[in-house]
């Protein structure tokens, strides 16, 4: 494998391989530099606006989301997740306290009108975590609804909020159309109630999202589980507090320092990335495990452990068929897309894993590279097993077809030529008889000769037919056929058959030929005085043994009839063993599966 491309795992999700809007990246970086730079400068100016602690918390939230988001974007350019996270930071930059030293009425208005935008972006982030893509249509509607609600609501409320009334000495509110306190208050109530509802809906969606994703996905999702409840509770509290005339302390806690909990998200995300690095040690474990040799069938579990996804499965493409099978040879559906990673160029090995792992191609690549050789071996083994099974089946079919053909030939001989010759011979005898004693002796002698010839031919055909296929086997079964063999043997033979029940024909024919060949060998070489033929059935096996008390030393080498027998027995999935110690007799034992 010198081809570098073949060494890399190929993430199957085609959409995941292209960078997500790379043109936006520099703008986000520029915006991030501006926002954090601006806030850093502001931090350095003492005693202006909110207390330095509050300003520092807000600086951390903005900087945390922006730079962790940009880091995530760099790490996974194909995922919009980094952009969304950076977006949370940038939106948070617009929350009023950061622009507490307003530059102009325009920035003041912009800031106020977008003071809750970060909440919508956070909901977006939470529901699309960790892939950056919204999984379900419902989630999509919730996110879109949240954006519309947040932007619409703050814009409308700005239309009725007169900063002059709070006496803050702020710049003009460019959106103000009516400074009626009553409308402002009404809008604040509606905002608070609907805001709580929206927050609960988002929280519910996050919980459902969490329940839907797999074990592996939950691991990647944990920054959200960590931050979701405190963040949503904080936002709900903010909504409620805004309705009451809570004092400065409440404002300081909820709006000043409270947002620090948002920092949990970028923080936890960084930990996850670090943990992903830790997964590499799992890969190292896998490499060591493979080094020691993983037993067949265990490989899948070992890969699952390395991926942290116990449900991970391996599938192989069979080279002779366009279908995937699992290591056990069972068919598996493999459809390129999320949760499927091909480990080589030919797509012959597929890893089926939790979709969340698509977000960790490094891990997949590492595990794939570590396990590929072993997997390739396992794939070849699975393929060879499948091919062997086919070859075995085809060998059995060939043998059975041969048997059927022999049976047909024997029957044609028996019911055709043999019968006709017998009839011919009978006719000759009848003619001879009819000629009477006064007939020409030359003619009668010739007729007699012809009749005898025909009778001899009948006898020869009978022998020939028996060699081709024993009719007694078809008619009366194995035990009768073995007894017939025994009767014809020159060496005395006893037959001990467990039962007379019929067996599948290939089994009977194979057993018959085993005994027939073994007896023939015995008569030729063994110098035996007696032979014992025993058949028994146990555990779906027909066991046939032919044991003689001869000189032993029989060999199963090339050219021996016993080798042919071994092939014959193997063809029906059985086993033939020959034990023939010199001077200790010969025992031929065949085990034939008989269902």
């Amino acid at each position: 494998m010198t081809d570098a491309a073949a060494v890399d795992a190929v993430p199957a999700a085609a959409a995941g391989t292209r960078p997500w809007r790379p043109g936006l990246f520099p703008w986000f970086v520029a915006a991030g530099v501006f926002a954090t730079g601006y806030m850093a400068v502001e931090l350095a100016r003492p005693n202006v606006g909110p207390p330095p602690g509050v300003r520092f918390v807000h600086f951390l939230v903005v900087a945390g989301f922006v730079w962790v988001g940009i880091f995530a974007w760099r790490r996974r350019p194909e995922s919009p997740m980094g952009a969304i996270m950076a977006g949370v930071g940038l939106a948070y930059f617009l929350v009023p306290p950061h622009l507490s030293i307003p530059v102009s009425a325009f920035t003041f208005t912009l800031s106020n009108a977008n003071q809750a935008l970060y909440q919508a972006v956070m909901a977006h982030l939470a529901l699309s975590f960790p892939t950056g893509r919204l999984g379900s249509r419902r989630d999509r509607w919730i996110v879109v609804g949240t954006y519309i609600w947040v932007i619409g609501n703050t814009t409308i409320s700005q239309m009725f909020w007169d900063p002059g009334s709070s006496g803050c000495g702020c710049p003009r509110n460019l959106l103000l159309i009516d400074s009626s306190r009553f409308v402002d208050h009404l809008i604040n109530v509606v905002t608070a109630v609907i805001g709580v509802v929206v927050a609960v809906v988002v929280l519910t969606a996050i919980v459902q999202h969490w329940r839907r994703i797999g074990v592996r996905g939950r691991r990647a999702f944990w920054p959200i589980t960590l931050v979701a409840a405190p963040a949503v509770l904080l936002i709900i509290a903010q909504n409620i507090v805004q309705l009451t005339n809570a004092g400065y302390v409440a404002w300081l806690v909820l709006f000043g320092y409270g947002p620090a909990v948002f920092l949990l998200l970028p923080g936890a995300f960084l930990v996850t990335v670090l943990r992903s690095r830790l997964d590499r040690s799992a890969v190292a474990d896998l490499v060591v495990e493979l080094e020691h040799g993983v037993p067949a069938g265990e490989l899948q579990a070992a890969i699952g452990r390395a991926l942290g996804d116990p449900a991970a499965r391996v599938a192989f493409l069979r080279s002779d068929e366009d279908a995937y099978v699992d290591p056990g040879g069972r068919p598996v559906e493999v459809r390129p897309g999320a949760g499927v990673t091909f480990l080589n160029e030919g797509h012959t090995i597929a890893l089926l894993h939790d979709e969340a792992l698509d977000d960790e191609p490094d891990l997949l690549r590492a595990v794939g590279a570590a396990a590929r050789m072993a997997l390739e071996n396992e794939r070849l083994r699975a393929e060879i097993r499948a091919q062997l099974e086919e070859v075995r089946a085809s060998r059995q079919r060939i043998v059975e077809a041969g048997d059927a053909e022999r049976r047909r030939v024997e029957r044609n001989l028996h019911d055709g030529a043999q019968q006709r010759l017998l009839t011919l011979s009978l006719s000759l005898r009848l003619t001879l008889e009819r000629l009477g004693p006064d007939a020409d002796p030359a003619i009668t002698a010739e007729l007699d000769q012809a009749a005898a010839e025909a009778a001899a031919a009948v006898e020869e055909l009978r022998e020939l037919g028996r060699g081709i296929h024993p009719a007694v086997l078809t008619g009366s079964g194995l035990t009768a056929a073995l007894e017939a063999l025994a009767e014809r043997s020159a060496v005395p033979v006893t037959v001990e058959a467990e039962s007379n029940g019929r067996l599948p024909e290939p089994v009977e024919v194979t057993a018959y030929f085993v005994v027939s060949e073994a007896l023939a060998n015995c008569q030729r070489h063994a110098n035996a005085t007696r032979v014992r033929v025993v058949t028994s059935r146990s555990d779906g096996l027909l066991v046939v043994t032919v044991a003689d008390d001869g000189v032993g030393g029989a060999e199963t080498g090339a050219g021996s009839g016993l080798t042919g027998l071994q092939d014959r027995v193997a063809a029906v999935g059985g086993r033939l063993t020959v034990s023939s110690p010199p001077g200790g007799g010969t025992t031929v034992r065949a085990e034939i599966p008989c269902g």
Partner: protein, 216 residues
């Protein structure tokens, strides 16, 4: 004596029919398979049925099945089964029922015309006829059958002929022995086989058969 023939070969059937007719045995009917034979027997009540083992539709043991059925349904009809190969198990199964008028012969025996007609008559008269090959095999096998091993070569020959249903006189003619000598051999055989001598030829055969069956 009326005979019904069953064989799937019409030519062979015709040949046997001609043979029997020429030896004054009436051929009352002919059948091509087992079912037709059973129907014919029910209609004609022949004295003897001659049936080939292998017949349509499967060409395995249809004739044998028909023979057993006829033995059960028409005990007065004698059955002579012909087979193209000798199968001792089949013969013992057919004859070992202790029934009268049963025969089992290799099909080739028809070529010895006189002998064959004689066999048909003997079966028709209620005797049992076994093919010499069957007897030879039964006698020749079973090395563990110690009782048979006690027999001398000559006694085995006599036993084989006895099993064919031959009388002492016939045996003496066959073996060129005096009838008295044959009687001595028979007595010795019965003694060695632990069988009580019986005056009737037929019962002799059955006794021999029962012994052979037990040893087979």
């Amino acid at each position: 004596m009326r005979v019904v023939l069953a064989d799937d070969s019409v030519l062979f059937r015709e040949g046997v029919a001609r043979l029997l007719t020429e030896h004054d045995v009436e051929v009352a009917g002919q059948a091509g398979d087992g079912d037709a034979l059973v129907a014919l027997v029910a209609a004609l009540h022949p004295d003897v049925v001659i049936v080939d083992v292998r017949m349509p539709p499967t060409f395995t043991v249809e004739g044998m099945t028909a023979a057993v059925r006829i033995r059960n349904e028409h005990p007065d009809t004698a059955v002579l089964v012909l087979s193209q190969y000798v199968e001792t198990r089949q013969a013992v199964e057919l004859l070992g029922r202790g029934a009268r008028g049963v025969g089992y012969l290799l099909k080739d025996r028809v070529l010895d015309l006189g002998e064959f007609v004689g066999a048909v008559r003997r079966v028709g008269a209620g005797e049992s006829v076994i093919d010499p090959d069957v007897v030879a095999r039964l006698v020749g096998r079973s090395p563990e059958a110690d009782r048979l091993a006690r027999l001398t070569e000559r006694e085995r020959e006599v036993l084989a002929l006895m099993a064919e249903g031959r009388s002492n006189q016939a045996i003496s003619e066959r073996l060129f022995l005096s009838e008295r000598t044959v009687e001595t051999h028979v007595a010795a055989i019965f003694a060695k086989l632990d069988l009580l001598p019986a005056p009737d030829d037929h019962r002799r055969v059955l006794a021999v058969l029962q012994f052979l069956q037990a040893s087979g």
